[in-house]
Symmetry: C2
Subunit: 669 residues, 2 copies
């Protein structure tokens, strides 16, 4: 456990009081002192020590970020007269970022200047992000509070997986998310490059893969190199995933002979798990994979290489007498045995290329070498099982962003929690960290940022900060700040909301629609899949796509409803009044607009909630209790309203529910 010079929760509290800076991930040690370092146009950061091109480039980006964040023209005009404001010391990197790099740093801020020291430049990058988070406007203008911060990550593998296959994600999307990842100290970009619905990278050896398997939407190898360099400059490793032997229908569109059943195949358009898989019994399969993976292994410098391995359907394998007899001959038990055989062959190809194999839970099998890494999407058990077998693993179960669960749910999941909590320290050390996963069935390039951020930031904190940093209120307060701060990285998670609502409103003023959207929360994978038939051709331009996964407004109202100070009740009354008047305006706005037809019942419910809320506030201050039958009827309505509707939740029902619960507990006279 990290040494703490002051309890970090106390430090956190002192730093987040009123307008003080919100740090996320919370550093290991924060020791505030007095005063502040003013940031103005004379600010300049310098690299100490010998020439260090990596750090110079990082400082140029840092100064540009600081200029955007503050609006101050920094580094413009005459060279500043005063000494360097921030001095950074680290040795120039001699290799790309790699697993286990020393990422620690110390940052000392005083009114006279700041010192950032790190063993590696990858650590220094983290310290620069912490410095940016420290800068806020206060009495003397923009400034960073004085203090000492010593920081280092709890886990060495802190990743984000992005599925660029179900919906295409252009390079700009990837790069702006790399900037946001770096801002919250994530260090692995897991690039899910092939799927049933698309093969998204150029192969020079097998160009039909992208020509027939991608609808023309793929990265060239030059672009891939650009992304790898972009990531490395930000201390982020790039781990490519080629998902085999399942999830390969786009490969089969180009090379049907690789399939375990004869036929012609088309790029997938619908969501779900497909039957077609690679044939694990033919040598031609391995010749193909050896050539392809050798090509790709040369393109990606990181020693870890992801082969997917999830959700392999046995339908084709079971139906093939040839495959079945092969299995008997090689004493392979069922589909899992066949897959393990396949994985062993693939692992040898990767090993020849100097790569360590990583795959989803399903690849776990005693026949595979101890060196492989397991990525668990099914729970901490497989991670614990692997660790006990001497294998390393990372957690993604509980970190699936596409489910659009609230941040606190991800925040509560610890890689060493649940069934991994009993591991010995030696075993626990094999748990390398985790990855947030963004599957792209229900996101497009336009909406994906808003489904990753800010929730991925709390997963980043879980993987970086001491295990004991678990206060949910502090997390939400800081997450809201950091969400706004992340905009200066260029990520678009907040930028799309207004335009998407404007689009839905057509030429009508949008206010009534926005009031409704602010009170709703978008639902994720499960409820969306059940609501209607989606394919890659269905537009993601509806109400649910604009609405955010979590409502800041509703969260603040839940707090107000629980707290019930006079100010809190006044705020609630205002908001309920707005809601109760909103439906008439919304219906006028919606007219016969087909895109808003599904939202009309939600709008009626919102106004009803406003009216109920106002009544509940009345009963709260009244000497008379709320009538029991009224309470019962309202509770029934709330329960109904909290059910999915138009693929969103009417989150507005929650603060009203809190008030009704209070009324229910009020003693009868």
């Amino acid at each position: 456990m990290p040494r703490l010079s002051v309890p970090f929760v106390l430090a956190a509290a002192s730093l987040t009081a009123s307008a003080a800076p919100a740090l996320m991930p919370m550093p290991v040690e924060v020791t505030p002192s007095t005063g502040r370092l003013v940031v103005d146009g004379s600010f300049h950061a310098v690299a100490a020590g010998p020439a260090n091109a990596f750090l110079e480039a990082a400082l140029a980006r840092f100064q540009a970020r600081l200029a955007r964040q503050t609006g101050i023209p920094i580094g413009f005009g005459q060279p500043p007269a005063r000494p360097a404001t921030l001095t950074v010391t680290c040795a120039a990197p001699t290799a790309p970022p790699s697993l286990g790099d020393d990422e620690s740093y110390t940052l000392d801020v005083s009114p006279a200047g700041a010192q950032l020291q790190a063993a590696t430049c990858y650590g220094a990058l983290h310290g620069l992000e912490t410095f940016l988070q420290l800068v806020t406007p206060e009495a003397g203008g923009f400034a960073a509070p004085a203090g000492h911060i010593a920081d280092r990550p709890r886990f060495p593998w802190r990743g984000l997986m992005l599925d660029v296959c179900r919906h295409w994600m252009p390079i700009a999307v990837v790069e702006r998310n790399l900037d946001a990842m770096a801002a919250v100290k994530m260090n692995v970009f897991h690039w899910h490059l092939s799927e049933d619905q698309g093969f998204r990278i150029e192969s020079k050896r097998f160009p039909k893969l992208q020509e027939l398997g991608s609808d023309g939407l793929y990265y060239t190898q030059d672009q891939v190199r650009e992304v790898i360099a972009y990531a490395a400059a930000r201390g982020i490793r790039v781990v490519p995933e080629f998902d085999i032997p399942g999830h390969t229908q786009s490969w089969l569109a180009a090379y049907p002979e690789l399939a375990a059943a004869p036929g012609t195949y088309e790029v997938g358009r619908v969501w779900g798990v497909y039957d077609p898989v690679l044939d694990p019994t033919r040598e031609e399969t391995y010749h193909f994979l050896e050539a392809l993976l050798t090509e790709m292994a040369a393109l990606f410098p990181d020693p870890y290489f992801h082969i997917g391995g999830d959700e392999v359907r046995a339908v084709q394998w079971n139906a093939s007498p040839g495959i079945q007899s092969f299995a008997r001959e090689h004493k392979l038990e069922g589909a899992h045995g066949l897959q393990a055989y396949f994985n062993q062959r693939v692992q040898k190809i990767l090993e020849k290329n100097g790569k360590t194999m990583i795959g989803w839970d399903e690849i776990l099998h005693p026949d595979l070498p101890a060196s492989i890494v397991i990525q668990s999407w099914r729970g901490q058990k497989s991670l614990a099982d692997a660790a006990k077998q001497g294998r390393r693993g990372i957690l993604s179960w509980g970190y699936y962003l596409d489910h659009l669960e609230p941040a606190r749910q991800h925040y509560a999941v610890d890689p060493l929690g649940g069934q991994a909590s009993g591991l010995s320290s030696e075993e626990a050390a094999r748990v390398l960290g985790g990855e947030a996963c963004m599957w792209s069935e229900y996101v497009s390039a336009e909406t994906v940022d808003s489904r990753i951020w800010p929730r991925a930031a709390v997963i980043a904190e879980r993987l970086w900060s001491p295990k004991e940093v678990t206060d949910v209120d502090s997390m939400y307060t800081r997450m809201e700040s950091v969400s706004r701060w992340l905009e200066w990285t260029g990520v678009q998670h907040r930028a799309g909301y207004g335009p998407m609502l404007d689009r839905l409103a057509g030429d009508m003023p949008v206010t009534a629609l926005r009031i409704l959207a602010d009170a709703c929360e978008a639902l994720g994978l499960g409820p969306r899949a059940r609501a209607r038939k989606y394919t890659s051709l269905v537009p993601l331009d509806r109400f649910v796509d604009a609405v955010r996964p979590e409502s800041e407004l509703v969260r603040s109202m839940e707090k107000d409803a629980a707290q019930q100070s006079p100010e809190a009740l006044a705020r609630l009354r205002e908001q309920f009044t707005i809601w109760s008047a909103n439906n008439a305006r919304f219906q006028a706005l919606a007219g016969d607009n087909e895109l808003l037809a599904e939202v009309k019942p939600l709008s009626r419910d919102l106004s009803a909630l406003g009216a109920t809320g106002l009544q509940a506030l009345g009963y709260l201050v009244s000497t008379q209790p709320a009538p029991a039958d009224w309470l019962a009827a309202q509770n029934t309505e709330i329960t109904r309203m909290l059910r999915p509707n138009a693929e969103v939740t009417l989150a507005a029902a929650r603060p009203v529910k809190v008030l009704l619960e209070k009324l229910g507990r009020k003693p009868q006279p």
Copy 2:
């Protein structure tokens, strides 16, 4: 005057009722018919006739815009089965866009498809923008209403001038504004490239100009060629301006020997008109200008070339015995005579390079040839004078966006109005159009879009649409829609508002600040210059920089206050309630944040206005009149509140003022 198949005002009304599309500039003829053309994933536009690479590229951009605007994946997956949705006919351009091109088009939309026909592809581009404006969500999803549109511009010169010198504007800013210009059918980008505060373009002949005159912030010649090609693909001419002989201090930083007085010179940092000017008497000046202008004339293909010529101070000329004796020798009358001599020399250089000279009012002089073009920033008189002398001109007086005047003020200015209204038809034909001007003393790359758009769109309408299109209510309704629609071009005029307010709020939730900002209007050049000492190093990150030039909220409240329907009064009551409660929350948010200190009095006034508004609403529905002394006191307060404060206007006072006026007219019992 254009032929109108139906009165356009009627047509406009029918098209802008409820959720119908808002067109801006309003086309010459709009003949609605029944039905609509549905836009879905099978939409595809095709170029009719022989190969036309220009049009193909334009259609690819058009489809991408349509996809962004609707959120529908267009042109993705299988080729569409149905016939082309939009067929475009025009001849491939044989030359870059030029003054007087036929820009007319006709657009016929039916449920079965749409036909766009134009004599030139530049006309077709305008038709594509009109089609995009037609597409809105309605009963069948996204669709364009059926009808016939025939359209052509009133004036051939419809420009935007951008000053990239006082504050630097990166290429991305220029390009996104070119996209927005094209969207409202503007066709001239006037690029103000040199100023006292910066020489912003690479000269290979005189590299010291950019090396010593730009702080490193300039366009390379390759970038300039990129911008010219980008503009030409959008039907926009690029007219460069090199402002001489005044406004040249940045030139003198590199070449002090060109000045009319000996000395050393530095790039300007402060705003205003500088004394240093070029020496018009030395042959070396003309050798230098001949070499430089010849280099630049080759870079810019357009035949028009702007030499500025505004605000030439006579201080250095008057103080120089050599210059004064030169003037006597050549019989040049005063500074204007000297400038005319200088302009004649420059004009001959440009003529040798095949260029027509254009300059600001001040260049108007009988000794210059009839071919020169006058850009009037001082009024319609100089335009009329020039036209009577057989010279052509364009109007910019009344179109200065940096003054942050309301859109209706620009809208009321007609190039053929005022002292130009008496011109004969032959003289009037010499008035080529106009240009909106964006001077950049008080804008940065972050804020400039929000000061250009949407107000430049109403100037675009003034220059394109029939003279009789002057209804201000219709203009505002359509401008608000078109402002939202412009976001799909990529221009950032709405995007910065939220983040800039977030920046001011630091780590505090921003709502109370946003409520205040929504009720204010930013002031422009004059009030800002009087408020404090600005230089190019002063950050533009304050409240005034975030606040918009016109408040949509306040405009709607003024309407409500005038109309006084029960719904209108309910809306006002809600808003006044929010305002009256806002100050306590704002003060808590502002704390000791220095950036918000200047805004605290505004916040107190806003809450007072909320209270006054609520009282006024009470008196309106009461049988008792408002007490005269109360009314007088409130009116005094309103007058005070409408004065500039923190470089903004508290626009919120206006709807309250309307209510007070109603109360004042209410008969005493």
